[in-house]
Subunit: 344 residues, 2 copies
């Protein structure tokens, strides 16, 4: 029998909570016998949804929460004050070891702050980055940091390159992942102060397959497997990618619907087009992990439906099975690190 | 008779030099009787190209240059050492007033360095930004800085917002242009250190129509007319936009060509699709001006063909006719500025 994995799942986070969260939990639990879910949410609402479905009662446990952190709340205040929220309760479970992982489609800032102060970082990790998969023409690419640390330091980017390599190797099975740093040109002397300071450090880092700079133009082509940058730049990359694709597809749809002639054309290409575009959906990769925390904290898109929740839960199974946090500790030699208090 | 405009044109810069540059010069001079072109390049080569065409001899003058700055040269060294290059000769002409504007499809870095040290800045302008037009679903948008100043200061971004507003109003005729700063969220307290410091300054700047933050996701929609950010972020935006569009269109083309059925579909939609996509071509807007220099310095795409060169030359006509530099001096109250030496 496979090793059991316990995931604390925020039933109250995201636009489609709690309905889609509960559905995703039930589907994932049915498909994965090693999965135990602590479903955290407003008791009567979640119970009703659970009871309306045929769920594995021994592996989905309802944990009542009495507060909800909404998306527009100040994250730091919310985490500090709403101790009975689904996010704080779930994160505490990971902190104490009652759960291995935490998954939420709720307030990103609260997931970030909570990951750092409630779940806690792996000792020796400076700043956990958000690390979503972005689908490219050549397959999945890990972009970190995409939202956690706006004004980053060179040594953080080096850690992210190491962590990202370990994640891509073990979570997605990519051998010797190519690591690149986002830059404005291919030459070694290009960049802003952060990139210029980080570049030589990455070049000398022995544990990674550093391939140099990547220009934003090449990111959608998938010419690297792990891409590092500060969270401001990462956020811009992620959202330009989404925004450009969404705008262009909207324009093309407009063309296809513009006349009888183009509608016939559309009918002829619709099937293969959908199939091709499907490979650019991030859904099947689950959510964005906040890597470097104890256990695993996963932030799923706010508009997630049951499929994405279900994929995020499977992501947790792989993460635990492959013992990725232990590999991070070993790979970054963190057990040899001085205690936190002695570090700058 | 319209006011005459003299443009120093680098005949030797870019992938298609000098053929396409000369063709663009001839076409623009024929169409615009107020245009005088100083075509700077290797004498015999350019003369042969000119003589093979029917060009207005009184308004295109060949200025011989004996050196060429290639795209892979170190810009600072090249500008310092190659005094007889087409770039340095052309820029000197703007500095001395022999020419009003300078246009080049050559080495971007050399155009930037030369713009600052050979052409010279308008007194009181801190750092000229590269300001290309990006075409969006809602029309042209000015993105500055897109390549000149990697590690920017808040006061530079404020100047860019002011300069960009004046440019969009007078060059493109956009009334009361909406100014936005690139950010990672809509809330006022979001951002990195630069954005957090700049935001309140933009809010208090009286000369601009500041509409707040813009997330990268909304840039392709065209929800602002003038977008400010540091040059690292601007470069990432520009190249993600190009790269995502190019990758997606490549994928879609692959689908259209994949079977007999889809080829028939493609034939039915090709015309209207091309028409729609054409509005996303930046070509007709000319090149990226380095705003805030004396005269006007325009950097055209390295792969520019005659059409883009011709558009860039027309851009110079409008810039001079609308007296945009004088409007910048007045709008930013630069005539009231202390002499350069007394400034920090």
């Amino acid at each position: 029998m496979a090793e059991q994995v316990t995931v604390a799942l925020d039933a109250m986070g995201g636009d489609n909570a709690p309905e889609e969260i509960v559905k995703g939990a039930v589907a994932a639990a049915r498909e994965n016998p090693e999965l135990n879910i602590h479903l955290i949410g407003t008791e009567d609402v979640v119970r009703k949804l659970l009871e309306a479905s045929d769920y594995p009662k021994d592996r989905i446990t309802l944990i009542p929460s009495t507060e909800v952190i909404s998306t527009d709340e100040n994250p730091t205040m919310a985490i500090r004050r709403k101790r009975n929220s689904s996010i704080v309760i779930g994160m505490k479970e990971v902190h104490t070891g009652e759960a291995d992982c935490f998954v939420s489609a709720g307030n990103s800032g609260a997931v970030l702050v909570g990951g750092q102060v409630v779940v806690g970082k792996i000792r020796g990790i400076d700043r956990p980055p958000f690390a979503p998969i972005i689908p490219t023409a050549a397959g999945p690419v890990l972009l970190l940091d995409s939202g956690a640390n706006m004004d980053a330091k060179p040594e953080w980017l080096v850690q992210w390159a190491q962590i990202g390599s370990i994640y891509m190797k073990n979570q997605l099975g990519i051998k010797n992942p190519r690591v690149a740093i986002v830059n404005v040109g291919a030459e070694d002397d290009k960049g802003n102060a952060l990139v210029k300071a980080t570049f030589p450090m990455l070049k000398e880092c022995p544990d990674i397959n550093f391939t140099g700079s990547i220009e934003a133009r090449d990111i959608p082509k998938g010419t690297a497997d792990v891409i590092v940058c500060d969270a401001f730049v990462g956020n811009v990359i992620l959202k330009m990618y989404e925004g450009t694709a969404s705008m262009l597809l909207h324009e093309i749809k407009g063309v296809l619907m513009s006349s009888v002639r183009t509608k016939i054309g559309a009918a002829l290409i619709a099937g293969p087009l959908k199939k091709t575009l499907k490979k650019f959906s991030a859904k099947e990769y689950g959510g964005a992990p906040l890597l470097g925390c104890r256990g695993l904290v996963v932030k799923v898109h706010g508009n997630a439906t049951q499929a994405e929740i279900s994929h995020a839960l499977k992501q947790c199974i792989t993460f635990k099975r492959e013992d990725i946090n232990q590999k991070i500790v070993e790979g970054l030699h963190l057990n040899e690190t001085k205690p936190q208090a002695e570090r700058g």
